[in-house]
Symmetry: C2
């Protein structure tokens, strides 16, 4: 490899990883999710301030190749992140998540997506695909922040906590289906919009269920052979390979790569050795994942901030919050504080950022829209903890407080 | 990231990793080092047969960016590999390696390097830098193969085994110094060749010793803070960051990156938690390292084979073997089978390949010379085991046979 390129990539990658770790640490110190710190590091390193990493660099330069290499490392990070999310989602628990969780999840996706879509399509007169992407970014709850707050006030096993957790997992899957729809629409096709969407939804469901059925039947066999072949440390290598293969397959049949990664995680969750996989893949993900969120920050150029963007941010934030709070009231039959459930669903995080990043890297949304979306995601993440503590502090506490939940963000 | 590029990289990377694992496994089954299998996988995937990965692709294409991304992943692999080698080299054992090991190492580097250099410079009339690189490729012994053979016949703790092990570690350091010299010369400069070489040798020694002194004094402190900052799983992340920082520093002061990685390994070897680092970084290295050796194979184009190349391969192989066998006789004062020591030093492996790859990616040597060097390395690796078994089978066996040594190749 050319020495100048190697030096450029090594230097930038190191700055990104070290700054991300420091930023994440700082934010955890002030009780905020690490991902916020990583995003802000990205904003600072990008064109907004230091200009170390510039997404608008000219093709063919060393800095451009360097940018592509670092972006790919971030992409591996997202694949590993969704693999981890899958590993943490129990499929059977999902099936019995209950009516309350399901209703909260469905309303909590339908409302923000349609509100966001309607605002962009009819007030802002944006193209359909842009409007869908904006709406979709508001869909998925990032349950990590809520769960961490609840764990700090010993409320994880409260009725509210259980409903939120169940709803958030269903949320993730609905979000993945929407992203696949967007990926499909972005790839062109669609003389008939309804037909295309229907086909992609069906494909995603078939893929998720198919991977699960095939995976659960065959993974133990493959795994046994891997053991026999004495491929050392099969935990990390085999989960890495499996997650990448599933992502590539998903991509090849026209779905989003992370649908595959998530499905791979669900499959491995069924293995006896589940916990080994979780523990072994985490340190690897810890290197790659922050790179993605820093790169997500790099695309936010503060120079593009103006009154119009502030207006969009304001409206979208209100819609994002209202949509989820109303979803809380959908928890029919649950003896729980419905406002608290709604508030617990407010934070958007990783998945929302993945959507927005997909939008800008595939040239669906403009830089200004992207920046607005990232700011909205950051605000929803910032407002939740204080509200939740206020709403949930009274009443029964967890009898056996679990150990602090590791925030995968 | 552009969908077409993501798909291209993911696909190629997966093929490389899976094929490398399969090739490595196959070769281990027939008692050959995994690295040979990985090299052959690379030759097959490259222009020689399938043409999936082509180093001569036009700039600016997706396949080109893809090639650069995969190459960088291989570069991380080399950094992690040399970090592991450093982790396995005890600095104090090195200092007391003894006269016999030191003599074997020095003669075993000086002879093959000067023979290879002389052949290329004076018979072949090649430029000085090319001749130095060819000689240098023949320098470093890959002790993994020898140690595995000795472990299989329970002879690791024989006098021969100890001398070979000590000599191989010194070999590595001498090899790194030579590579730094080449890197420095390749970067230009040098009105005065002798002065440049002297400066680089001095720099490398200062760097190695400096990193060690500073590292041993400060790493425990840094590490304590890392612990305090609750950066989770600090083993993998911190060793990864430290190895990369040291590599970048080495590069910036004009040395080879892997000198830095090796020094970082030496520093971490001094930490109490050494074994945790070894165990945790290995699975990560297991993903990256094979990518480097596959990419090393890709550059070997069998179409460039001709009678002249066969002649070069033949002469270099003889010089490579003679140089090391004579080095065995330098083990003055040792009560050991000196022929066996020499034979044990014959295999070249990872380090030789790193040299050759450095040569071709920096356009120092031609494709034909590169191909010849790779074939020579492969032959030295293949001939050693049967010879060694023949020479060492008699006599005292290890009293406490160690568990099989994990070949880092």
């Amino acid at each position: 490899m050319e020495a100048a390129l190697l030096q450029d990539v090594l230097f930038k990658l190191l700055v990104i990883i070290i700054a991300a770790k420091a930023g994440g640490w700082l934010f955890e110190r002030i009780k905020q999710p690490a991902v916020l710190g990583e995003l802000i590091v990205g904003i600072l390193l990008g064109p907004s301030l230091f200009g170390l990493i510039d997404p608008n660099i000219a093709h063919g330069t060393i800095a451009f190749t360097s940018f592509e290499i670092i972006t790919f490392i971030g992409e591996i990070g997202v694949i590993l992140l969704l693999f981890q999310v899958g590993l943490e989602s129990n499929i059977y628990q999902l099936l019995k998540a209950g009516v309350a969780s399901t209703l909260v999840a469905v309303v909590g996706v339908v409302l923000p997506v349609s509100l966001g879509f309607a605002f962009f399509k009819y007030v802002y007169h944006a193209p359909t695909l842009v409007s869908i992407l904006v709406g979709a970014t508001l869909a998925a709850t990032s349950v990590g922040i809520t769960m961490r707050v609840l764990s700090e006030i010993n409320k994880v096993s409260s009725e509210e906590g259980k409903i939120i957790l169940g709803a958030a997992v269903i949320d993730d899957i609905l979000g993945l289906i929407i992203l696949s729809v967007i990926a499909g629409l972005a790839a062109g096709a669609s003389a008939n919009l309804g037909f295309t969407i229907g086909k992609i939804v069906l494909f995603t469901l078939i893929f998720l269920i198919g991977t699960l059925v095939i995976g659960i039947k065959f993974t133990p066999v493959i795994y046994k052979y891997a053991h026999k072949m004495k491929i050392k440390r099969t935990f990390v290598v085999s989960s890495f390979i499996f997650a990448m293969v599933a992502s590539l397959l998903a991509h090849l049949i026209g779905l989003a790569t992370i649908v595959g990664a998530f499905a791979a995680g669900l499959v491995f969750e069924r293995l006896e050795e589940k916990e080994h996989f979780e523990r072994r893949i985490k340190p690897v993900a810890d290197i790659f994942v922050p790179v993605f969120f820093v790169m997500a920050g790099v695309y936010l150029d503060l120079h593009s901030a103006n009154l119009n963007m502030l207006y969009v941010v304001g409206v979208l934030t209100v819609l994002a919050i209202i949509g989820k709070i109303l979803a809380g009231w959908a928890a029919i039959g649950a003896k729980a504080n419905k406002l608290a459930i709604g508030v617990g669903m407010i934070p958007r995080g990783e998945v929302g950022l993945i959507f927005a990043a997909f939008g800008i890297t595939n040239a669906i949304i403009t830089n200004a829209t992207y920046s607005a979306l990232v700011v909205v995601i950051m605000i929803t993440t910032l407002v939740t903890p204080p509200l939740l503590v206020k709403l949930m502090s009274g009443g029964k506490k967890d009898k056996h407080p679990k150990k602090k939940i590791d925030n995968i963000m």
